[in-house]
Symmetry: C2
Subunit: 469 residues, 2 copies
């Protein structure tokens, strides 16, 4: 054995880099290890996730806005067009800036503390790294995930895209099927449609964006379908049809130039040799772990952080998990940390958000649902963006806020207010006593709170919106 | 005397209508009284304030966005143009929808409970309403305010505009001076400039938007001045110059087609005959009142709510004051209510916000200033909108949040998060433990919190962003 480390961090993504930040406070004897090719390094977020998708969404929204120009007194909107190579170049430029920033602040500065190798567990305290073996006291597995593509589709060639390949495209196709309407499929499907691509969305589920509230789901589907068709509750079959791909989904049958497969991601846990540890693995190859310490239950000197554990694969959670794992590995402790209130945002237009408990987790006989429809909302109206619906869930007797589900413009911001109130176990009356400026989107939340409060059994001697001194 | 009322409400604006909502819970013997001509009824907000200005800002932002189209891969942006009559028509249409909604939900339904008359106090319990006198137990004065135009400029004719006349214009002028760069002057000045009007801003102050933080003020001026020139620290003189108006401000001398005067608003208190009550009035004609009960100190059966009292003339405050006054008048009590944490938003691009205590109210030796510059912010970068600066003020030893000053995109939303935290006396560490999604503008706030926390004398045994279970 050449070397023995205090801590080995596998994976230089968001979770691994956040772990690194904590590890460094406690040890100098660590390695950050990632086997990705040089042009694949950088976080999933910056290279193939959050950032390039938001860059494309921004362009799409700017172009899409032209449809309302005439009504606003702006002439010439019909003459606008898309240079699809320039769009992809812009997306790639922005991505490169953000990837370079990640790398230059981390790996590029690390010298020998970073090792560009794939790591494999040889035993509970030994990693195989290429042809060398390295011992370790603690190890953080943060090797992320990869897009799922069904076996049968892998032979169809480079017309089948995932987020790994999508952002490398040099132009936009004339037509595209988006298979899987979770966050990624919806965000990119809508953006492509707004950019003029003939998009069709397909999902085996009858819900989109993981929505658990049927009314919000219905509203979201109605709004998205105004822009491009969704085939829901049908499983897609793909086959070659000359230069095109034929999609069959229930009674629907159509051909497209390319297909974006966004049916989920699977953990890269299968690539680290966990089977050599002799611990129990589930059907997905994942070991049991504690979400409050991030340690494996059967091997608590090894931690699992970020998308590799498949639980809540969202950046702010990956970052938090990395910090927990890094802190515990660095200090050699198993401190338990509270996890965030659930917070999910789909950056479609309107935004789709779920915060706190979802409707399927609640006993509907014990809650009230505060409702606000965006139609009459002043600010949204003047911005020609007054479509959407907000549902707030609260305890019927206590008025405690429990969760929210929304499809509404700027709901990403309302979701933060709601999440922060949930973190503090606030009640509807508490929230109603906070200031809401005018005219702001937050007043839509105020409307939903008022509606919810009116449905509780709470009785207010003085008006709920006034705070006695 | 024809009639004796429990409660008379003078003014059917935001404060008066909110008072009405409370009064109705306790009495049927009230009148809502407003002497405005039929085409001037409706709130200041809906008719000449928040709403038409936001409608114009929205159009201006949509048109202004074309300057970045080329970079994004959108062709034809240079060919877009403004139909200025259509712009004004759109603004007026939106305004009419919102005014009609206010009226149809209130006055239109009130029958004899609404009286279209100017009211004048005859004595402590009597109002003169046209040729009838009406007695009252309690009275709420909510008669609002009007734009100030210096005497010398009133003779210059209809080229001198205020918000009262501005939104009635049928087209946009080629050139305009905006005198007074508070919220209204900045919002409309920037919108007009973005719509192609040759705008020059003038203010006697060297600050804009009422900013009290010199660095944020500097940053805001730099950003606004990229769009149109600001002449600061100079008093404007106006005179006729043929068909134009000549503006002289210090060494600057130029002519414009029209002038928007936005140097402030004065209370309409001078029009209700308060001098007949024999109570002490200040230099502005205002009686002393308690901001927690809204009652006059020398005549506590009379209340002063909304812009008429000149203190914090902002809709959400006017609304709250109306509710307090209505509750106290309705119940015949003088209950004291807590007032909101200060919250000020200028809907310029980027937004300018002041929340909580301002820098001039704080002892700089006892605070830290957390800073975040928008330049490297990921989401702002992909949206080509990464200009701005955030300052957070917090107690140096305790880390308690004290206030914030910002010029940043989407800061209107961050301002709500900050205000709600201030309402609860939260500390920087509390805020840092709440979830921040990715990639969102809220992460700019997170950056400022981190920076502020690092400058406090607080020592963290465990990472500040982790919450022990």
């Amino acid at each position: 054995m050449n070397k023995h480390l205090d801590i080995a961090i596998l994976g230089a993504g968001t979770a691994g880099l956040n772990a690194l930040g904590q590890v460094r406070r406690h040890s100098k004897n660590f390695l950050l290890i990632d086997g990705a090719a040089e042009d694949k390094l950088g976080t999933t977020c910056a290279r193939v996730g959050c950032m390039p998708s938001k860059a494309m969404i921004h362009i799409a929204e700017q172009f899409h806005a032209r449809r309302k120009f005439k009504k606003l007194g702006i002439e010439g909107g019909d003459e606008l067009s898309i240079d699809s190579a320039a769009v992809m170049e812009r997306v790639q430029d922005v991505r490169d800036i953000l990837v370079d920033r990640v790398l230059s602040n981390t790996i590029d500065k690390m010298g020998e503390k970073f090792l560009n190798e794939f790591a494999h567990f040889a035993d509970h305290h030994t990693l195989q790294l290429g042809d060398q073996t390295v011992g370790f006291d603690h190890c953080i597995i943060a090797t992320g995930s990869r897009p799922v593509v069904p076996e049968a589709w892998q032979s169809l060639g480079d017309q089948i895209l995932t987020t790994d390949s999508f952002f490398e495209q040099e132009d936009l196709p004339a037509s595209m099927a988006v298979i899987g309407l979770g966050v990624i499929g919806l965000e990119l499907g809508q953006a492509l449609s707004q950019l003029g691509v003939n998009v069709t969305g397909v999902d085996t589920l009858t819900t989109i964006a993981g929505l658990k509230d049927p009314e919000i789901n219905r509203c979201a589907i109605d709004l998205i379908q105004k822009e491009f068709p969704l085939i829901l509750g049908q499983t897609a079959q793909l086959e070659k049809a000359g230069d095109l791909i034929r999609v069959t989904a229930g009674d629907h049958r159509f051909t497209v130039e390319r297909v974006l497969v966004s049916i989920g991601r699977r953990s890269n846990i299968d690539r680290v040799g966990l089977e050599n540890l002799g611990i129990q693995l589930d059907d997905h190859g994942l070991p049991a772990y504690d979400i409050h310490t991030m340690a494996l239950k059967e091997a608590p000197h090894i931690f699992l952080a970020g998308d590799v554990n498949v639980d809540t694969p969202i950046l702010h959670e990956a970052s938090y998990e990395g910090k927990i794992a890094g802190h515990n590995a660095g200090t050699g402790s198993l401190s338990k940390f509270k996890r965030y209130v659930p917070l999910h945002i789909t950056f479609s237009e309107p935004n789709i958000c779920q915060v706190g408990q979802s409707l399927d987790q609640l006993d509907e006989s014990r809650i009230v649902i505060g409702t606000f429809s965006m139609g009459p909302h002043g600010r949204a109206l003047v911005m020609s963006n007054n479509r959407g619906l907000i549902h707030l869930y609260a305890d019927k007797e206590q008025g405690t806020l429990l969760g929210a589900c929304m499809v509404a413009p700027r709901a990403e911001h309302l979701a933060h207010l709601i999440a922060w109130c949930l973190e503090q176990n606030l009640g509807l009356s508490d929230m109603l006593r906070f200031p809401f400026y005018h005219p702001v989107f937050e007043e839509a939340l105020q409307g939903a709170i008022r509606d919810a409060l009116g449905k509780t059994t709470l009785v207010h001697a003085i008006p709920a919106e006034l705070t006695p001194l």
